[in-house]
Symmetry: D2
Subunit: 470 residues, 4 copies
């Protein structure tokens, strides 16, 4: 699959750096890290930097290199000791510039910047409570509800970390947060660990990142994952940990391994690339087929395709050329050519598929429309058979924890049998990875997994609709 | 290898559409085609369109989607019958906006637009002759010398194609050209066929393209390659061919197969993807090694790596994550992080290489600096051995036909033995594909190949330096 | 005077339209009105529009035509019934995009957009109070403190206008505000009337504007000034007025007549152009001189110069050519030419001044540096004598009500006698308008005037420094 | 009048600097000078700079500050010894980027950059001749025909100035040219002197400019006008003059005094401001009227209005506020407000005109549509009578020398009597300056004047239509 419309969306990536000895240009570090996390959110991004206790920020709609031009980078304070960054997908509807993060707020105890990845299950409820007390909101985001919760606790507690700890009693759902005030940085991962968060180091500087690939990007060293429920405080003296909220059932989103995270990242002890290859291998065991070549749908199906090929013994092939210049601003010139869009982006390599029985591996099928187009391309390029293998189970249930699973009526698997879907997308056979197997792909993972979108069973009770923001 | 600085540069891509029955938005077709040819030139691009005999154009520095914004597309005439397009690398030095193509000229016989891929070996000589006759030049390009040559012949001949044919007697070197006047389009490929050029069809519209992938991009059908020396005339009545200059020794640049062309293209009867896999297979035969995994340097080494793996029986692996968001405007924030650039772009996947003996396949080694960095990344990620295999021979000689081979003193293979290079880039072993083998990779190719950059033997005598433009 | 640095800055302009019968494109109306109010604030601007009860907005740093490109205008809802707009100067320091108005807030009672001109004398005090109650602030502006005050009252009162009325008990200082919720628009002017605000009509649509010139700009009809302390409510039924806060001492800023307002505006019954001509006439009476020509410093001194000429009988002349193309992005190429900047902007017309005794009229002298340059230009152009006349008294005291009077140490008149200033700026004589006269320039003005920056006497007690925002 | 559509257009401004001792940043000097000449051409502009014999350039559509951003200025060579600049109106039709100047050409004798103001009467004829000889054209401009003419002569003569001198035998019409090669700068004014050109000095640097205001803008000193027919050569040794083409009948365009030139310029010995005041005075003598106030249409009618007031004894008034923020990108939001455009740009000051008999002075009436709108505004603002006075005669004939006089059928005076025009634009009386008087406005002018657009009599025979470019 190649069209963004067809793919599930992750909601965000966060990053923080505390540069104790002023070894780094912290803005530059966040910039590079956000580049590495860009796959987690492409609608807006932002950087907040703290120089001598003063926080400045810039955020806007656009990719990192669109928002942070050299001119804009030059306008940020150049000698910051701390900085945090964020990249974002809007959960639904039009992206709004005012919803971009990091959120910046001023308060009696000073200023604070906050970057958040996840989704609250009681966001609307919290918002309503603060509004009844006279609070005003500038955005529609859970991030602002979180900021209110922390700030209200801050009035009753004498440190930022104590306020965060108290706020955790009120926040429900998925949240990986980095927050910074004039002197310290606090990172927290919700007690179920829905979204990843890790700790890194570069020289004497401490790093917080959604994924380890961001630590790599600035040549830092991965230190460890932050535990579900853990609060990490980074200040001039070092890194402190509060595990008083730890110990609950783990619920790391399995789709981080299947699709969201970058394959070079390692999350909660398990390699994403390896998890995908294992998914492919399980697929080969569960849905074997006689074929001549195994290809992946670029880019998300490549690793699983390799795993399928290795397990099955069918040769791995490179089936498509993906146009690397097609960006967000690609315009479809006119109606006549609208239907062919997919071929500008993805052209089959006939030398690989012509006259062959092809196994096509992709991470999932959401609506099925793009799968249909890709299969058609393969047939036109001469494939004699096309066997589709999805490296995850079929989506059947909503996600309340930050993944943009479409409404049930749009999920092809809700109202169709596997055979019907196969017919719909025009393949000779179709196989989804089983729920049992998807639970096993992340070998060595130290955190329990949430597979709620496949099973309807979540680590926490599903929320009432009116309590969820928007 | 991943850094553009390190890669050889192709000089251009050309495209033309003659939309006999007004089935297409010709601007949109060129736009999509240039997207597909973007790999052939990323510094500037342009579109010239002919509507009711009047030619309009726009061209500028930048990628296709940067130059042709929706606003700019809307400003072009919307009902053209013909259009041509061009994307370009400057051969050396700073890119100049005024050198962007298509070249547009006005003349006594009307207007003309011209797009050119290649390099003349007598460009400066021609220019000097025209200047002595009172001509003035606005650019430094061979394209302008070609325009002068054609126009001067046009004064003596009564059709554009006759002028082109006569001009061919004067033009020396590599040229694939599409030229359009108020009523017809003429395409020509030099008698040795240094650069590719093919014919396609979309409905009743005829297409000319540097590579077949551009025909695919607009859902057209590939018709045939244009022969070395062939002149193709497209007008309201159909497609006409003049083969009077055909029959000379073929000299298609072998590097089109090794690196320049897109793997989904088929050139002169041979699949580029297959040629690369064959190059990998020959490499495995010529330079076998005991190893655990074969990986390719993204993206140009992937096909050859697969060929090496299949021939050798060593498993194919995915060794790197290439950041797909790193564009031309990526800025390196500060000196401290400059050295790490490569890792923002390319991060090794430890799960693939850790504790493994790795065969790393790339298309070539030019200066060696990027190879060194990539090898270092693999070692840091835990590779126990790294064996480098280049899917082409070592560069030893200049190219006069449109490839930007560096000066001899910058070519690592000129002054170093293979062992010295291996030491320099830090690998356990190194193997280049032999000249004999590279000549065989394009199985079924209907055109002879030029391998001059490896052997110093060209299909035509090497030119005197003062005759070459710039 | 011509350099912005040298001029006092007004802080804002506001505008609102309630288009009862959908006769207008309300966005377009605000756009045109903001153009007419651009002189009141050039750093940022914004438009908020209400379509079927939903409020959308856009705001950014830049001039109206920079922020509201055709693309941006097209993105706003196209069928709004109400809209408000704002243009702004930041009171000090760097302009911040997040401080741009209209302020938009979400609350339990719905959304609201607010545009504010003025300055609170208890802004910081209010902010502190709300922060102690758990409120969080996104900006440093008084506008946000006002929004909090209104919203907190809204929880206790059952209409927006009742909340505004109650909020007035808490707000101190200068404020002209337009606020809009999903169904109505409320405009209010502080009880002293420091800043102007008027009511207009265009067809059935009601208009609110800082100055009557904005009403003219959309071909509307001026209706009347809003009284100091008056609350005007505009809803689907019509225009309602609440005068319960009226009746206090008037304090309209006299500098609105001298410099801030546009000469074609009429404020509180007095023509700005006429006020300036009267200022010039008073000047001629108070500081007569033997001279050959009276010229004004473009553009702010022209009207007063004409008044001086008419009163004195000395011919009026056009002394300078002001370059109308010099915009905000004019860059001073290098150090060598830095000093000549003034001449690129303002060139003396020798034909007017050569060999003449010149009376130069400008609105005021703040620091004196630009006056010095202009006088020098006149001398170089051949003026034999230069007599400077300022159409306002010398600045001696701070302004707490929205005018950016520099710190006392930067005011030339604080530490220098008139003779010393004359020497400093190189003139043969110098005269400031007297305080008595400046009070009389706005003949027919229905509101008392504040002349505190000249006298230190304000309509309300000067605030404590810590209570003022920033 | 205030709308560009209604005004005649000048075609260009030129500037050159030869910085013998490297005292200046020559790019910056040209930038400032083009700012001062911006009124002569607002569609495109360009700078060419020569550093150590190499010429670089940049040119584009847009105003000086739009084209020459700080980034673009930084990209030009920073140590040039010579530079030339140009700003331009296209004579008709859409502006084309490729037609922007300075024209840059490469030739056997090196490179050359050329800036041209004027219009040839044999441009098309020359072009045809060169095309027949094999020349190719990139543009539609006379500038390219001039370049060809000079270059062809350069092949036969051994210096640039000799080539220019020989070229003058072939060029017919109006031309003020600055041309620069690797070592010298040559300026030439056609033998009739249709367009102005002057010489200045700044330190040791020599300057060439269309108007003296450009010399002023960089704080240079005006030296003298270049004579009609004079060739000025500036090289490392100094300034040389060749007057061999001098002595023909003078034909400086009288409209330079009436409208085109900046009032602070002095052309051929006569002050533009004074010429306009004299035009106003003659008007008062020729067309007296009983009235209460004389106002000018901003900005072009202000000087003449002052002259009328002084001669007639009727008080001078400031009748309009012109919005100085209305730029080229002002968009007219929707149909409903289209008609009101004029009021956004120009608002009458009621305090000046209400209840008054008003004399309105403007430079000319072309089509009459804008005059109609302005008169209407005055009536709505309460003027009891409006008497229109045009400070030039009525346009009756075409201009072949660089002024964009509309086609005869669009000239209101061709088919209407003065009374009919008065009725058309709604005034109580109307008077045009007589041809006899307009010839006398430039008192002291050292050059004969062309008044062909009023009289049909030109200093040279009117050309055949087919010989004129476009």
């Amino acid at each position: 699959m190649c069209e963004r419309m067809e793919k599930l969306k992750e909601e965000c990536g966060v990053f923080g750096i505390f540069d104790r000895k002023n070894e780094h240009n912290v803005n530059g570090a966040v910039y590079s890290a956000l580049y590495a996390l860009q796959h987690r959110g492409q609608e807006s991004c932002g950087i907040a930097v703290c120089e001598e206790g003063n926080i400045s920020y810039h955020r806007d709609l656009g990719l990192v290199n669109e928002v942070f031009t050299p001119e804009m980078m030059a306008r940020l304070p150049q000698n910051g000791q701390m900085a945090i960054g964020h990249c974002r997908y809007a959960p639904a509807g039009k992206p709004r510039r005012s919803d971009a993060q990091p959120m910046y707020i001023r308060h009696i105890n000073g200023s604070m910047a906050l970057a958040f990845n996840g989704a609250l299950t009681n966001g609307a409820k919290l918002r309503k409570r603060f509004e009844m007390e006279g609070g005003i909101f500038h955005t529609t985001t859970d991030a602002e509800a979180i900021a209110y919760t922390i700030i209200n606790q801050r009035l009753k507690h004498d440190s930022l970390e104590a306020a965060v700890s108290a706020a955790m009693e009120e926040l429900e759902g998925a949240y990986s947060i980095v927050v910074m005030n004039h002197e310290k940085m606090v990172a927290v991962r919700d007690p179920h660990g829905f979204r990843p968060l890790c700790l890194g180091k570069s020289g004497e500087a401490d790093l917080i990142a959604s994924e380890s690939c961001a630590v790599d990007a600035i040549d830092g060293a991965f230190v460890r994952d932050i535990k579900p429920g853990e609060i990490v405080v980074i200040d001039s003296e070092g890194v402190h940990s509060d595990e008083s909220h730890c110990g609950q059932e783990g619920g790391l989103c399995v789709f981080e391994y299947v699709y969201f995270a970058r394959p070079d990242s390692v999350i909660d002890g398990a390699s994403v690339h390896l998890a995908r290859r294992r998914a492919g291998a399980f697929l080969a065991l569960e849905h074997p087929v006689q074929a001549d070549v195994v290809i992946g749908a670029p880019d998300s199906g490549l690793d699983a395709a390799l795993g399928y090929a290795q397990q099955s013994g069918i040769p791995y092939g490179i089936g498509f050329l993906k146009n690397k210049y097609i960006g967000r601003t690609f315009i479809q010139p006119n109606q006549k050519q609208r239907e062919n869009t997919v071929r500008i982006k993805l052209n089959p390599i006939a030398a690989t598929v012509k006259g062959k029985r092809v196994v096509l591996v992709d991470d999932s099928i959401v609506r099925g429309t793009t799968s249909l187009k890709i299969v058609k391309l393969l047939r036109e390029a001469g494939a004699t058979e096309v066997h589709f293998r999805a490296s995850s189970p079929a989506f059947l249930y909503p996600c309340y924890f930050g993944t943009d699973v479409p409404r049930r009526e749009d999920l092809i698997a809700v109202n169709n049998t596997v055979e019907e879907i196969a017919r719909e997308i025009g393949v000779d056979s179709l196989g989804f990875l089983s729920v049992e197997s998807v639970k096993k792909i992340a070998g060595g993972c130290t955190c329990g997994l949430c597979t709620g979108c496949f099973t309807g069973e979540y680590p926490v009770p599903a929320p009432k609709q009116e309590d969820v923001n928007q």
